[in-house]
């Protein structure tokens, strides 16, 4: 199956490398993907557009310095990550307030556990989930599950798992204490796990023919 980068939920790494052809044109083609990633991480359409605009300008201006061995797509996404962090810092107060709100009002998913701390229901076995990593439909479900997270949880989780930040850096960007940082990452993982289980692994998702 040929995969287009422009479709939502398509992992970037699975697309054609884009090494051949005009790099300027390729940078233009990446725009929808960059916007999708920026929206996922920032959870704010205006901030995402700003980050992507700045990325496109920086990529076009920096094209002369681009080292071809690193791959154009990877290089442009690397620029996007820097621009996303700039955007986080500009929006610092709002990001922090959202996080405080989630920490005071959000749920710890304690209804999964009995009073003695043991699980109410057993998790459904996921079988061999690795096969799902080759399925376009799986990434569409994962994207939906990430979109469904409260914004602060998605921001914290993606800073950790996509941007590769350590928790000290996440706490700093989101202006929360380290224990609150762990609470947000815990809630995000628990919700994502439940979401993938109900929308993919417990349904026909992994078994049907793509």
């Amino acid at each position: 199956m040929s995969m287009s980068l422009d479709q939502p939920g398509i992992p970037l790494a699975s697309a054609a490398a884009g090494a051949a052809g005009d790099p300027l044109q390729r940078i233009g083609e990446l725009q929808p993907t960059l916007l999708r990633l920026a929206r996922l991480q920032l959870r704010n359409a205006a901030w995402a557009e700003d980050a992507v605009s700045e990325t496109l300008v920086a990529a076009v201006e920096g094209l002369a310095r681009f080292d071809r061995r690193s791959g154009l797509d990877t290089w442009v996404v690397g620029i996007l990550k820097h621009k996303i962090i700039d955007q986080f810092r500009r929006a610092g107060r709002e990001v922090s307030l959202d996080a405080q709100q989630e920490l005071s009002d959000g749920e710890d998913l304690d209804d999964l556990f009995q009073a003695d701390g043991h699980r109410v229901t057993q998790p459904v076995p996921w079988g061999d989930p690795e096969g799902s990593l080759n399925r376009v439909e799986f990434f569409a479900v994962l994207q939906t599950c990430l979109d469904d997270l409260p914004a602060p949880l998605a921001r914290a989780f993606l800073l950790r798992e996509w941007m590769d930040f350590d928790t000290a850096e996440i706490c700093k960007e989101m202006q929360v204490t380290s224990s609150n940082c762990f609470v947000m990452l815990y809630r995000a993982r628990m919700r994502l796990r439940e979401c993938l289980e109900s929308r993919w692994f417990a349904s026909d998702g992994p078994h049907s023919n793509g």
């Binding site: 939920g9 992992p11 970037l12 790494a13 699975s14 993907t33 990633l37 996922l40 797509d73 990877t74 996404v77 304690d110 556990f113 003695d116 701390g117 043991h118 699980r119 057993q122 998790p123 076995p125 996921w126 989930p129 690795e130 799902s132 990593l133 799986f138 990434f139 994962l142 994207q143 990430l146 989780f157 993606l158 950790r160 798992e161 996509w162 590769d164 350590d166 928790t167 762990f182 990452l185 815990y186 993982r189 628990m190 994502l192 796990r193 993938l196 289980e197």
Partner: protein, 64 residues
């Protein structure tokens, strides 16, 4: 003396924690003991690791 036996709720928090930082010696021991006897928490631990790999792929990161 610190507790040796922990609940699933406590174990889930440690499992998430180990995705983000090195657990302390005591935390590692109680989690290891808990996982030996708890299929549910062992499943959740594998699920969290998979979730990490899948998210990296979604964002175009290379597998690692």
């Amino acid at each position: 003396m610190a507790r040796i036996f922990i609940s699933c709720r406590h174990a889930h928090r440690l499992i998430s924690g180990e995705c983000d930082h090195a657990l302390r010696w005591h935390q590692r021991v109680v989690l290891r003991l808990h996982l030996l006897g708890c299929d549910a928490c062992s499943t959740v631990r594998r699920n969290f690791a998979f979730l990490s790999r899948a998210t990296r792929r979604l964002g175009g990161n290379s597998d690692s």
